[in-house]
C-alpha cells in the first residue's frame, strides 16, 4: 500500500489517505497551470472516506475547463494547493500529488487536457492521453 501522508509546504495543513488510489493522472488544463505556476498538476484520486485532513484550509471554486464546478483547497499561509473536490468526480477527493511526503511511487496512467499541454513536457512512460476531459 502506498504511503499517502502529505501536507503543504509550511506544514500548517497535514493529510492522510488509506488504501490504493483509484487513478493517478496528470492534468495540463490552463487552470492547473495557473494554480501551480508550472506545467501541470498531478492528481491522485481516493474515495472521500479514505481521506482525513488536519489544519485550516481556504477554498476557491470556479468552473473548470470542462465547464463543471471545481473547488480547490489550499493552505492560507503558504498557498500550496492540497486537493480538489470536483463535480465530475463525485465521492472522490483529488489529492494534488506534489504535496505527498513520498512521491517516488507515483506513476500517472492518464493525461488530461493534452490540447493545452506545454509542448516541451516529456512523460517517459505509456499513459492514456485525452485531448480534453474524457466524457
Amino acid at each position: 500500500m502506498p504511503n499517502m501522508n502529505g501536507g503543504c509546504l509550511c506544514g500548517g495543513v497535514r493529510y492522510s489517505a488509506t488504501g490504493e488510489p483509484k487513478v493517478i493522472s496528470v492534468c495540463h488544463c490552463t487552470d492547473c497551470q495557473k494554480q501551480s505556476g508550472s506545467a501541470f498538476v498531478e492528481v491522485v484520486a481516493v474515495p472521500n472516506e479514505a481521506f482525513t485532513i488536519q489544519g485550516a484550509t481556504q477554498s476557491f471554486a470556479n468552473a473548470g475547463d470542462s465547464g463543471r464546478k471545481l473547488t480547490r483547497s489550499f493552505c492560507p499561509r503558504c498557498g500550496s494547493m492540497l486537493m480538489i473536490d470536483a463535480e465530475g468526480f463525485p465521492g472522490m477527493t483529488l489529492i494534488m500529488g506534489g504535496t505527498l511526503d513520498d512521491t517516488s511511487w507515483l506513476k500517472p496512467t492518464m493525461q488530461l487536457f493534452c490540447d493545452s499541454a506545454q509542448p516541451w513536457v516529456a512523460i517517459s512512460h505509456d499513459t492514456k492521453n485525452y485531448a480534453r476531459m474524457p466524457t
Binding site: L9, S38, F40, C78, G98, T103, I123
Partner: protein
C-alpha cells in the same frame, strides 16, 4: 513570444505584465517546489527586475527560510492561492516569475533543470537541456550570468 506578456492568478485578482524577454526559463525538481506547485517540478522565468509589473490586486507575501538560510518571499493570491512570483530582492537585477501563470504558456521551453536528484521518475528530460543534480553552488551568480550572456 510577443511582448508584453500578460498573466495572473487563477481567479484573476492578481494580474501582471512582462515587458522584456526572460534571461532564462528553468524547471526545479526540488521537493519544496513539488509541494508548493502540487506538481512534479516548478518552473521559473528569470526576468530583468524592471521587466515585471503588477497591474492589479494585492498579493499575500509568504515568507520562508530556505535550506540555505536565506529568507525568500513569495507573492501568493489571497483569494485563490496561486503563487505568481518571488518578491523583489533588494538590490537584485532579476526577478523570478512562475510562468504557468502566464496567459500564453506555449512558448516556454526550460533550458535548465535543477535538483534532478529528486525528480519524479516518470518525468522525462528533453534532449539538450542543462541539468544539475542539485543546483550551482552560486545559484544567483548562475542566473545573473545568463542575463549577462544575452
Amino acid at each position: 513570444m510577443k511582448l508584453p506578456q500578460t498573466g495572473g492568478c487563477q481567479c484573476g485578482a492578481l494580474r501582471y505584465e512582462v515587458t522584456q524577454a526572460p534571461h532564462m526559463v528553468y524547471a526545479c525538481h526540488c521537493t519544496d517546489c513539488q509541494r508548493m506547485t502540487s506538481s512534479a517540478f516548478s518552473m521559473a522565468i528569470v526576468l530583468p527586475a524592471d521587466a515585471f509589473r503588477l497591474v492589479a490586486g494585492e498579493p499575500r507575501v509568504s515568507k520562508r527560510t530556505a535550506d540555505s538560510g536565506r529568507v525568500t518571499t513569495r507573492w501568493v493570491c489571497p483569494e485563490c492561492g496561486s503563487w505568481i512570483c518571488m518578491g523583489p530582492i533588494p538590490g537584485s537585477t532579476v526577478r523570478n516569475v512562475r510562468p504557468g501563470t502566464l496567459d500564453d504558456t506555449s512558448w516556454l521551453h526550460p533550458t535548465v533543470h535543477f535538483w534532478t536528484r529528486s525528480k519524479q521518475r516518470w518525468v522525462g528530460l528533453p534532449e539538450g537541456v542543462q541539468t544539475f543534480e542539485t543546483q550551482p553552488a552560486d545559484l544567483r551568480g548562475f542566473l545573473l550570468s545568463a542575463g549577462a550572456a544575452r
